[in-house]
Symmetry: C3
Subunit: 471 residues, 3 copies
């Protein structure tokens, strides 16, 4: 007989009754607040086209690299899971078979946030009452598969059910935002905006750099092989994104390096990195310089700048060759901020119109670099614990290691940062619970009082994100 | 109506009743022990001249970079706070207005040790019973301002009220310690000693290096452009400091690098770094060499050597240009000890007459480098969690990450390291509470027993500091 | 009167009753499971010869660098402890005097795992009921000394009493495993295998590299000055170790660097590093290349590969000169894995026949590098917290920082890694308790349920080690 699946109302709270009761009270204040999702990777096409999701596997497994990286680590081949290859194809494995494999190995996720998120979805979105394992795989598949055909499981219906006030997707600087336009044109009240991500036109090492530059030229009617035109084109695209309601940019560089080249140095370097003869150091320098340029443009146009450095992308060579990007083979790397950001901060660090949100995959910098920087520079705030660290322990480490130096008000609330749409309420719920856990500790230890905690809980769950992202 | 301000007797203790009761018992043993403050930055003039503090703002805001760095990070300009500029001037903002700004933004400090320290001072030194916010700003200002005119708030009276057994200030090697002499001459029984800090005459990159070397020559009647005279002069100054009761030196280098140059190499390098033509590497090598020389002199004269590496000073360029040093713009940086200290340790690491206390701003080295080094070398002990990390969480991280490898007896008790005189009892109280919290955990988990904890609590609060600093 | 020594049944468990009760229940399941010790440094001669241990000092102090490094750090000279020198001699200090010194300073270990381990041995192996201090030193010495003469304290008897299912020692690639053969020949049922450790024939900077290469040639009848013969000889030795029941190799390089040289590059480099004219970089490159070669051989022969990088050996120069290796003067150093392992992983990372267990002394890599790598690559698993970190806090940090990304099933249970034979049950007990503490937290916070915890507790205490090491 399958075991019952039950979401305990106190999950993640301390079992110490003093802290648990405080956490319950605080959580009760914030659990139903609308979701503000200022940074993520959902597909705007879902909300534009509002078509049913295909099946449980295509919805919950194939787009979720948290899920299949774990299965892969235990010897399940990506083709057994039907993961899409670089060329768009995938193995012809039956989605139901993939689901069975997933069910069989679901025990691997014990103690990971994926189990929290997925069980939340199983219970709250699909009303399932038994645990997922081999014996219940088909039961799950049938329930979910049937549900997806019903109107209340269409993307827009879920968006509304999830009480999402606003969600930001992330698009390349050369994207025409046609799905976003389609959403606006449709009259649907759901607020789906984008974020301006220029990495592919800024990073000479990006495999599509040349193609994207050409597209940038085409879109703007400016010859972007020339540095001045290139900057003008970027300004034009930013302005276009702004007209579409966008409030932020996003920069996913390998490091946090910034630089401040003279105009002529930058012009020369830009010519060089468009040739095929440049070094890794030159590529790094160009990216570094452009981060400072992006800061300058943010001062001009008011877009909030998000810096997400430190991911070593596509670490697994043969997985990359066959399956391409974003296949669960990205890993963090040590990331330095103090030296890296100095050129940008020397130039603009005290400018009252600049807003930068810093993220990291290297938790050692929370207390050593990020909190001290954000606790001084008016332009800097700290994004929440990110990616590998958006978990109960990761979130507590973030608060413990940043609050005492940077306070709460140099942080910006939660980002779900996900392409797994159905997990969004679960992820916000997890974040809200963990902030309540942290605040409950502070109250129970008389470090703050209950009045302060009530206000903080709402700020962390809702207000700070709106404020930081101008939403 | 303003909210009540109340310091809970159990603050910072666990709310788990077993641990809380143990912590209470241990804390009761140590809360009234005299304060031993072996390292800090109070101004000896306060105790020499014993003049009233000017007003709440000059006393509590303008000298406390923990306070104004947070305000600055949220967009309050330093001139709005009347922060002193490099040239000694400051904006003519009314101190009461500064206090109001501070009160308005006091919520920023929630969850930071500054709120713990300041509320402690408000209640215990000034007897205030309402929380600080905009509505109570003037009430606070009046109470504190009036108090400061009363004899019981003069520096010496507070020193006595605070039960300070001994406090060490920190002075440059070329300081004549005239205020300390004045204190000695006055017949006042308060023990205020100095610490010998030679950074400005050792660091070729210090902006006053040449000036201070000239002063060193003048003071010692030795031509300190010559390396041998320079060493003799340093020995002379150390001897002078010793006659004034000093028991320690302090070295605030950018890194922990040490080196062991031959006499002729050192002589040549010293000549070079006095010219204006030296590289950053040469400056680093000279500082590194001189740290080993300082160790040698410590073996001779018995002064305990404090090494405080890893602060990236004056990170904010324009703040430095206008406001100068120590304006809340210092940040930690990654700091390596294993390789860095090897030359010094190769030479003197097993010498029974050497005592070095190591500090860090890089918490990653607690378990990886510092505890393993201190758990082996007889000359090394670990200073407490420092600066950005002298907070409840920072202190617990220090104990959790050092104790299991280095034990308690390779640590040296608490340093308040502050120039905020009134916060000293609050800082020691916080440290004593957190050590009791840690010990209570160990007792509650039967890792140590209550007898052991009683002894340890007293050692951590009082005995270890006296012993380590020969006080 | 001496204080009573008492091992509390709940030691190390949370004092929060909810968590404590869960931990008790889980611990009850696992406390009596047989000990699987897949990696350690016990001496096979003990089990081959089965002779009585000499005296308390030779058994418990002189081989335990955890013990004497702490004493040394507080000024006790190694000669006062009779520590063996490089030349095999030692001071003629009376073992009873050494024991008295140890007893006098036993308070230094408060709050360290050594006190947990030693007290466990005192109570459970020797039945002692009073605490160790100066007043009880002779009492202890007499009890232990007398016990050691009794048959139930012979190595094999203790092995059986400790319920050791299998133990792996570690031998050099050139070891003839004659003690292991003797054990097999004796008909004793105790399972004592070795692990294949080729460092001395792979590391050109090892002081015995030339000697060991010569021995390798002699043993295999292959001229190992030639690269191809050298590889053939290594294959031969691995095959020999396999015939002796060995299931793993062990690699203790200074870093985790790997490389993939062409055959001709490798041949040339091997010639170079056998000369006396090679650089540190060449030595590093050769070790790096050979780690990839070892992976290739592991794919061929199925030996599980353990990589233990990051120890800075023999940091104390004069201790090394007089006393030699392994004298408590090894320290961790910052260790990078993402770049370091890429060449090996590019070549073999997706090979289903490769099994690598990664260890670290640099805890910052748990969440940043190791868990993300192990949570993706099928060939990688994580060894338990190691050496300086095999302590209550160290173990909790390991679980907290790896589980959420890598899960439990990319870890391999516990290694005691010790040469202190008597402490083995204590070390496994500590590990089992801490895993129960961690699981109890997860259950108490409803992150996993009790059914899941029961299974996990057994996997962590027993099954995972057997599975990962093919035992």
């Amino acid at each position: 007989m399958a075991s019952q699946l039950h979401l305990h109302p106190d999950r993640l709270f301390s079992s110490n009754p003093v802290e648990r009761d405080i956490a319950r009270t605080l959580y009760n204040d914030v659990k139903d607040l609308p979701i503000v999702s200022p940074h993520g990777h959902t597909d705007p096409a879902w909300f534009a086209l509002n078509e049913p999701f295909a099946n449980p596997t295509d919805l919950l497994i194939k787009p979720d690299h948290y899920v299949y990286r774990m299965l892969y680590s235990q010897g399940i081949r990506l083709d057994e899971l039907g993961i899409w290859r670089k060329d768009g194809s995938c193995s012809d494995v039956d989605p139901r078979e993939v689901w069975r494999t997933f069910a069989k190995y679901f025990y691997l996720f014990k103690g990971t946030p994926s189990s929290f998120w997925l069980n939340y979805v199983f219970v709250n979105t699909f009303g399932i009452e038994v645990k997922l394992d081999e014996s219940t795989a088909d039961h799950y598949y049938d329930i979910i598969n049937n549900a997806l055909k019903r109107p209340e499981f269409l993307p827009r219906a879920l968006f509304e059910q999830y009480n999402i006030e606003v969600i930001a997707t992330t698009e390349c600087a050369t994207d025409e935002l046609s799905y976003h336009q389609q959403i606006l044109d449709s009259g649907w009240k759901g607020k789906v905006i984008s974020a301006f991500r220029p990495d592919a036109v800024i990073d000479p090492e990006h495999e599509k750099f040349a193609t994207k530059l050409a597209k940038l030229s085409a879109l703007t009617d400016l010859d972007c092989t020339d540095y001045d035109n290139y900057l003008a084109a970027l300004r034009q695209r930013r302005a276009f994104f702004k007209t579409m309601g966008v409030t932020s940019t996003d920069h996913g560089h390998p490091t946090a390096a910034t630089a401040d080249l003279s105009h002529s140095e930058a012009k020369t370097l830009f010519a060089k990195v468009q040739s095929s003869h440049f070094t890794a150091d030159e590529a790094e320098l160009f990216r570094a310089h452009m981060l400072t340029v992006m800061a300058e443009m943010s001062i001009e146009d008011g877009l909030v700048m998000q810096i997400h450095p430190g991911a070593y992308r596509n670490h697994n060579k043969s997985v990359f060759e066959v399956y391409g990007r974003d296949k669960g083979a990205d890993v963090p790397s040590p990331t330095e901020y103090i030296q890296a950001l100095k050129p940008l901060l020397d130039k603009f660090g005290n400018n009252p119109n600049l807003n930068i949100i810093l993220f990291t995959l290297d938790e050692t910098v929370y207390s050593r670099e990020l909190a001290p920087l954000a606790g001084h520079y008016p332009c800097l705030k700290l994004g929440p614990s990110w990616w590998f660290h958006d978990s109960p322990e990761g979130m507590i480490r973030f608060r413990r290691q940043t609050t005492e130096t940077a306070g709460f008000y140099n942080t910006v609330g939660f980002n779900d940062d996900t392409r797994a749409f159905l997990s969004i309420p679960a992820r916000h719920d997890l974040a809200r619970r963990m902030d309540c856990v942290y605040l409950a500790e502070l109250v129970a230890r008389h470090y703050i009082d209950m009045d302060e905690a009530h206000g903080l809980a709402k700020d962390l769950a809702y207000n700070l994100a709106k404020r930081a992202y101008n939403l």
